[in-house]
């Protein structure tokens, strides 16, 4: 999986983000729209698409989409 695929999935899943509005360095938590409901939707999206569980600690530790991508990539490999 390329990081752009993850970005595209997030942009499709959330109406709050338009196509091309996110990049690898975007910190989702610092966007104006971010709520706990967004976190649940993101967790469910990653679970469905990659069969990978992202937890609250993961979301707290990441600073950008690239960090999230690396967590997913590592868990898919392991």
């Amino acid at each position: 999986m390329h990081i752009n695929e993850l970005i595209k999935l997030i942009e499709i899943e959330f109406d709050d983000f338009t196509e091309g509005s996110l990049n690898p360095k975007t910190d989702l938590r610092k966007t104006d729209v971010w709520t706990s409901m967004h976190a649940l939707i993101l967790i469910a999206l990653i679970d469905t698409e990659f069969n990978v569980t992202i937890n609250g600690e993961d979301l707290r530790s990441i600073n950008c989409i690239e960090d999230l991508y690396n967590i997913i990539k590592n868990r898919i490999v392991s």
Binding site: V33, T35, I43
Partner: protein, 337 residues
């Protein structure tokens, strides 16, 4: 003799708290309305502050007696599932027993469980009927969780409503009835849904009222209800598919053998994800939370009652019930109506 669910009724408090009321109270959440609607709730019933879980349980039991022409004198055992009891002691079931005018020979027992409570209650009723030899067990569930919420807890106030249910389980000459059970517990997650102070472990102190804000700006205190929504969502997403597969395996059934699935009505978004993971056709999943919200231990019996009333669940149908939540605790069973 097999234990069989004979009748179900329920009671919801009169006061309604709609999404319109919610958005007036928390205007900053209106921009997130579209996502919040994925929860599947448009209004909830809220108990009066001077009412208790036993009060609405009594109302549910009286509704059962009237709607289904049940004589209270025929009840052999009363089981009361709640998390908010009238007193430290005595047992609330004894008070309910008196208010329902049950006989002196009728046993009465409280048990403290949340969202898995109804399925646990069915297992206790089955044991009392098939093991002890009783004929009629009245299982009451009641949740008044909204009384424990911090006024600024915008997550809990959106998700939950109050309600009580009454189920009559009887000994029947039938091959139908309540089947096998799967249970599960993970006490490591006890702090994920908790009211920390005010019980025997931690007395209420000045610190109990100190406001605590989580990562998403949700506010509560140690004297009020707290739920780590993210952890509980992940718990549901991971544990329930396994729970369903385990009970299917124990009953030597597959998804196609089940006519209807009724999950604890935590929220529609989570149930949809669980159903997708299990590849359950959407028409086989019955939900009823639009005007009730998450009613904790009452959510499954309320949904089951509505499934029967609406004809979605018919005599002879095979129904899988799965509860999961505070504890952490989970349980599933398969019943044949």
């Amino acid at each position: 003799m097999k234990a069989q669910i004979k009748h179900i009724s329920y009671h919801l408090p009169k006061t309604i708290f709609s999404n319109e009321d919610y958005f007036k109270l928390f205007p900053d959440t209106i921009s997130n309305e579209e996502n919040l609607l994925k929860i599947g709730t448009e209004s909830r019933h809220i108990i009066q502050t001077n009412q208790t879980a036993s009060d609405i349980a009594v109302d549910a039991a009286k509704a059962l007696f009237i709607e289904h022409d049940v004589d209270p004198k025929d009840i052999d055992f009363l089981l009361f599932c709640a998390q908010e009891f009238d007193y430290y002691t005595p047992t609330s079931a004894c008070i309910i027993h008196e208010r329902l005018n049950l006989t002196e020979q009728c046993g009465a027992l409280d048990f403290n469980l949340g969202c898995s409570g109804y399925v646990y209650g069915l297992s206790l009723a089955k044991g009392l009927i098939e093991g002890v030899g009783l004929k009629n067990v009245l299982l009451l569930t009641s949740s008044t969780l909204t009384k424990t919420f911090h006024e600024k807890d915008k997550s809990s106030r959106f998700l939950f409503g109050d309600g009580a249910s009454a189920t009559l389980i009887t000994a029947s000459e039938t091959s139908n009835g309540i089947g096998e059970f799967i249970f599960g517990t993970d006490g490591k997650g006890a702090d994920k849904i908790i009211i920390k102070d005010g019980g025997a472990r931690n007395k209420i102190t000045e610190n109990s009222y100190k406001e605590i804000t989580d990562d998403y700006g949700n506010i509560t205190t140690d004297a009020c209800f707290y739920m780590n929504g993210i952890s509980i969502f992940i718990f549901g997403l991971n544990i329930v598919p396994k729970l369903v597969n385990d009970i299917l395996q124990k009953e030597q059934k597959t998804i196609s053998d089940i006519d209807l699935f009724i999950f604890h009505q935590a929220n529609l978004f989570l149930i949809d994800k669980i159903a997708n993971k299990l590849q359950i056709p959407s028409e086989k999943v019955f939900n009823f939370m639009k005007n009730t919200g998450n009613t904790v231990s009452s959510s499954i019996p309320i949904a089951l009652s509505e499934a029967i009333k609406s004809g979605n669940a018919k005599k002879g149908d095979t129904i899988l019930l799965a509860g999961f939540g505070v504890g952490l605790s989970w349980a599933a069973t398969i019943i044949k109506l």
